[in-house]
């Protein structure tokens, strides 16, 4: 499946090594095409003579992709470099895509260097994102560490857009230092608005840091929770997600009410290259978001 060519319309520096890019679809936006499924694709059986037309319905270059949901990702392509899986850091936009990328290597460096007018190839949307609907009518705790806040930002946007659908909502954000707090000005806005509880905590505080110090799990005990009606969404390093989950389970939250977004090597994004396997799951398709009930026994096995 080929990428659809999007045009960068803005490139905003979030911090030293992280950029947020906004992408506009090709001008002539057709009916949405999902990259993950190619309608009319062939189902060929042994000794079957019917004429199949595999790939007949590849997304045309002049069509945008179907809207991306919070927690889903796209494969972003920089010509001549390669592709990387990158989550939507904003959703619900009319055709445009917003992605926040941390430069850690070849592809992400190329993506972070994009300027307005540059072209970025997009395949997607892929995977299963956050199950926000289960949180309606419930309390919600959203925990993001580092770049892990990016796929959670659309969750916050969704909540703020229909705030009364949710009970108490807390956002806990961890970073190494204040300078590495992602979306800092937006966090400040949310904090001032008080529509949701916002707590930030940094590991290595600078002198002017007045917030909490430590790792996100230190912040959790300060939240008042009603475990029977609490849904949790966590994204960050695997160790961090594990400690958050264990901490909240100790306080009575059900494992199935905790959603985590997992990262694995992803190259095809369509369940065919095998790189993203976690036991029976292709995380590109069945994930990246899994409930802790499902993820825990798998993550507990070393090197699974």
């Amino acid at each position: 499946m080929r990428p659809v060519l999007y045009t960068v319309t803005s490139a905003k520096r979030e911090m030293a090594s992280t950029m947020t890019i906004t992408l506009e679809p090709p001008r002539q936006v057709g009916i949405g095409q999902t990259g993950a499924a190619e309608p009319g694709a062939a189902q060929v059986g042994i000794a079957q003579t019917g004429v199949a037309q595999p790939g007949a319905a590849e997304p045309g270059a002049a069509q945008g992709l179907v809207p991306i949901a919070p927690g889903q990702f796209n494969m972003l392509w920089s010509w001549g470099v390669g592709e990387a899986p990158i989550s939507a850091s904003q959703s619900g936009l009319d055709g445009a895509l917003v992605h926040t990328v941390r430069d850690v290597g070849g592809v992400t460096k190329a993506l972070c260097a994009k300027q307005p007018g540059d072209v970025v190839g997009v395949r997607g949307p892929f995977g299963r994102g956050w199950d926000i609907d289960t949180a309606r009518g419930q309390d919600l705790i959203v925990v993001g560490g580092g770049i892990g806040l990016a796929p959670l930002r659309p969750v916050v946007h969704t909540i703020l857009a229909s705030r009364s659908d949710f009970g108490r909502v807390a956002l806990v954000v961890g970073a190494r230092s204040a300078a590495e707090l992602l979306f800092r000005s937006e966090l400040d806005c949310w904090w001032r608005d008080r529509a949701i509880t916002v707590r930030t905590i940094v590991d290595r505080p600078s002198r002017d840091w007045h917030g909490s110090i430590g790792i996100v799990t230190n912040e959790l005990p300060r939240l008042e929770i009603d475990p029977g009606r609490t849904v949790v969404m966590v994204c960050g390093p695997e160790v961090m997600m594990r400690f958050v989950a264990l901490n909240l389970i100790e306080r009575g939250v059900a494992p199935e009410a905790i959603q985590v977004s997992l990262e694995r090597n992803m190259q095809c994004a369509v369940g065919q290259c095998g790189h993203c396997q976690l036991a029976g799951y292709f995380l590109c398709r069945d994930g990246p978001v899994l409930t802790w009930e499902v993820a825990r026994p798998l993550l507990e096995v070393r090197e699974l």
Partner: protein, 400 residues
Amino acid sequence: MSNRPLVMAAHDLGALFGVLADDGYEVLGPTVHDGAIVIEAITQPSQLPRGWGDAQEPGSYRLVERGDGAYFGFAAPAGTWKRHLFEPRAVLWRSRRDGDGVVFEPGEHVRRRRAFLGIRGCDLAAIAVQDRVFCGSPAKSGSGSPRRSADPVYGAKREGILFIGINCSDPASTCFCTSMGTGPAIGERADLSLTELDPALPDQHRFLVHATTDRGRAIAARMNLAVATDRDLASATAVRDGAIASMGRSMDTEDLPARLREAAEDPRWDDVARRCLSCGNCTMACPTCFCADVSDQPDVAAGVDERVREWASCFQLDHSYLHGGSVRVSTKARYRQWMTHKLSTWWDQFGVSGCVGCGRCITFCPVGIDITEEVRAIRASKSVPLEEGTAETGEKGHSR
């Protein structure tokens, strides 16, 4: 036309090649190359491995002269049909810089009419397994799992193949297709199925021919074959029974997916890890393994970037690479991924076993690791399922 099996004299194989050529088929079949039987394009019966058998043992493969005129008197070929469908290297698509933009060109989607001649039960099953990976499927109803997407490059290769199967007569010591339910008989899984009869008796050397599809029947009809006699049918049954009786290995698959799921911390993985070289030969030889690296291979000066898919293996360290380190670092973890995927998690993903019992991984393992023996060892092991919470303290998985 009745569906009664027909009979074809061995010297009429040439006529079969003729009919296939007339119909524009490129024929792929077994042939001897560099001391091994591989699958290549062939145009006449003399290119078949006539008179050759194979001796396959854990860690060893060699051809042996049979002393008769059998065309198909060997077991699973060293080469796989897989490399003609899911190729070792394929260009998925190509893109060319064009001013400020990029234009796409399709990869290699050459469609040819192909006949797979002399394919065995295990290998037919293996293709059916790979079809589930690459041909897409609707979402499984009720499971909530999304539909699988289809790969056009595989689809173009896969489309319209005529299967002329061979009922296996001479399983190797490494074969266990009976355990996996994939052979030695191919039943109705090919357009035409052949059983080679009396290869030691030149004047009686013949094939029982069973046509099971319209295409198969049309080809058989043009060969003016005689209807099989009861004696022919009895001989074919004897060939099948002989093959079943001489099956070299077996695997107890009862409840195996669950057993392996519970055996993640079994000490046997440490044992096999001491022998395994992590070379990945088993995955390259296996007719169902589908792992691949997908990467851009640009020629920046020429303004061309190719998206290339190349065979990869879960035994490679970088298979599970993430920024910061691989997930499966130890050989133990990689071997466990391989065997558990084949026999357990493949069921979760595709609703079938990922192992068809062809025995290639046993034969082509340089140190002779035997998947059937490893299954027996795990079954015999007293390892208890992981208890909730036992693994909570230490550093689990990759620490990132």
